[in-house]
Symmetry: C2
Subunit: 407 residues, 2 copies
């Protein structure tokens, strides 16, 4: 008798949509009458046997719905980089045998796709019939071979909404002022482009948008700020956390905490603060910096319905493909058209995606060009469309679905 059960786990940084993909996987498993296990803390839960049967906790459609609207990872996460040691693979294989696992679904970013790739290849090598499928997620939108990533649309919606509100806030005084808003994006500027939406849509000028793909020039930045605050205008500069100097070094090296995670990424912080000080040194006016911080990846109350629905489908379709004996694949979105917006899900070999990074395309770097701004709007706006209605308690605070670790 073949191994028939499913195991699913989540990995990397949270998004508002990653639980929606989990909900899609669970939905498909339940429809297919298959046992589905959840591993807590990503691959680490498989290594450490922190595994729970999910079927019992999702007996009602309402449970699936509630999970769909819950931010962050209901199964927890990890940033564990799988070694290529036989010992570690053996633990995984034994664990899968223990739970009679035939299908492993891993929801995560490009680091997690590396884990999917390694496990799928090893299983093929040793002729082990367990299917391994990667479901993408990342607010950063930096995975290649997919039109966009699940989670990006909701983060983009939070950012565009918040910038719209901040514009109202900073416009109240009739004095020149500079507000620097720091947005997530270690090496790519996708989310910072979303911060441009309120400007692009309303033809507001001046806007200052700095992304990692364009080497930062102190002189240009100060010049643009100076132009902006003429006529007592308050201005907003939106900047990616990972801005780089012309020599490729990160801006404000000394603002960094110096911590490095297990994939070798340096934790960045403080580009906003760095630029705040830079402006203060050069221009006499009110300057503040704002970091949108974790709110941009967990503000589920502002999720994009399009994003959550798509994330659900890509999870559902991922398991569908695994059950059709596909393995070593990552699910992707293909855009059929922007207007009307229409996408399909399909898949690619996961090794084509793992450890690769999609940058903002060169032609979009001409960001102050209205034609380019229109192209950016055409790309992002469909992804943020649609509002969701989260479950609230009697005081109108959100209630989120918790998966019990010990059931």
């Amino acid at each position: 008798m073949p191994n028939t059960n499913i195991i699913v786990a989540q990995s990397g940084g949270p998004t508002s949509a990653i639980n929606s993909s989990l909900a899609g996987v669970i939905q498909k498993a339940i429809e297919s009458n298959i046992k589905i296990y959840g591993s807590f803390y990503g691959i680490e839960g498989i290594l450490n046997d922190e595994i729970v049967l999910l079927n019992n906790q999702f007996q009602k459609q309402k449970d699936i719905e509630d999970l769909k609207y819950t931010p962050a990872m209901a199964l927890g996460s990890c940033r564990y980089k799988l070694s290529n040691s036989k010992k570690e693979f053996d633990i995984i294989i034994n664990r899968f045998k223990q739970y009679n696992i035939g299908y492993f679904l891993y929801i995560g970013g490009n680091d997690s796709m590396d884990t999917v790739d390694k496990i799928a290849k090893y299983f093929k090598e040793i002729n082990l019939d367990i299917k391994v499928v990667g479901i993408p997620k990342t607010i950063d939108n930096d995975l290649i071979l997919t039109d966009h990533t699940p989670g990006f649309g909701s983060a983009a919606k939070y950012i565009a909404t918040t910038i719209t509100e901040l514009i109202r806030d900073i416009s109240i005084y009739n004095i020149p002022s500079v507000t620097i808003v720091e947005i997530m994006g270690r090496n790519t500027g996708w989310l910072t482009l979303a911060a441009g939406i309120p400007f692009f849509l309303n033809g507001l000028q001046p806007e200052i948008i700095c992304i990692p793909e364009v080497p930062f020039c102190e002189k240009d930045f100060i010049k643009r700020i100076r132009q902006g605050i003429t006529n007592n205008t308050p201005i907003i500069a939106v900047v990616s956390e990972g801005l780089k100097n012309k020599d490729g070094s990160y801006l404000g090296e000394d603002c960094k905490t110096g911590l490095v995670d297990r994939f070798g990424h340096t934790y960045l912080s403080g580009v906003g603060k760095y630029l705040e000080n830079l402006v203060k040194k050069n221009i006499e006016c009110k300057v503040r910096s704002i970091e949108l911080n974790l709110m941009q990846r967990c503000s589920a109350h502002l999720s994009s319905k399009t994003d959550l629905d798509e994330a659900f489908n890509i999870g559902y379709d991922g398991l569908t493909n695994a059950l059709k004996d596909k393995t070593g694949i990552a699910m992707v979105y293909n855009r059929i058209s922007s207007s009307p917006y229409n996408i399909t899900t399909s898949y690619v070999d996961v090794d084509l995606i793992a450890n690769k990074e999609k940058k903002v395309p060169d032609k979009w770097l001409d960001i102050y060009n209205p034609k380019i701004q229109k192209e950016i709007l055409d790309y992002i706006l469909p992804l943020i469309k649609g509002n969701i209605s989260i479950k609230k308690n009697e005081f109108d605070l959100p209630i989120y679905k918790i998966i019990n670790k010990t059931l």
Copy 2:
């Protein structure tokens, strides 16, 4: 013929509800068939003649509704401290004569009530028949003689919702970590109490809540963090921006920018960052700090319906009282009962409110006491209740009402 027109202005820091009070004033003026002018940038617009007729811009009920849901100040703001010079009063008096003003409504915090008080007293002194009424607002909830302030409920709702979401986000890793969330509150901890709501409601432990009313003790803080992160638990500490040491000095003096506004307040920043460094120095674990920053006062998409409705009514009633020849008063809320929640608006002499500050009461400083937590919930929860539906464009981004300065 008596002076019959109305002038209204807004002052101090923004809230999500201050435009709702403005909408209430405009609504009453229009119902009463009286000309109403708006002064841009608070009292400065009166001094500098930046005044616009509002009736034309609010001909439809929809215009009033849209204004109600718009964050920050549609008429702009100022932090101008009125001198007591005859020269300045003369400019104001002449401006009021120029526009045939009989009623002046000023919406603002305790500094603005000082302006109301000065002008009302001067007018009485010289027997000038112009009524002056203050409409309170401040997210800080620090005005005395009122149950709470317009704007507090919406800020509290943003904070409680965001903390609920952040708890999900920081809980994903199975490692000890400390997240410090810095919340507005220069001298009072009202908003930081709101950050406790998700903990109080769910009996989550441990919670660390630090407010300016309780002298900060480094040793206690570190001890509490140490207790919290046992068992690999991620914890959140919520702290007011204006934490003070036992000697009354602000925490992390060297984190301050050193800027002082015209009322002598020092601009604070960086208590979160200061505590982040303090924890890092003492405990080996992941530490981050998050500043909720301007979002807590301008996130109109998360406004409390109760707050906006009350703010509208207090504006409406403020003008009603002015038209009944009341002057030198500030409007206030009186709570009749918490369950069912019921308040009325009334008024007090503005000099009783101006320049005074309502602190969190002494008996509530025993904040880890469940009985006290219940009292805090009874007080705050009714204020955050009810969701609003803001106007959105076709891409589901908010559209806000703009008052045209030049019409």
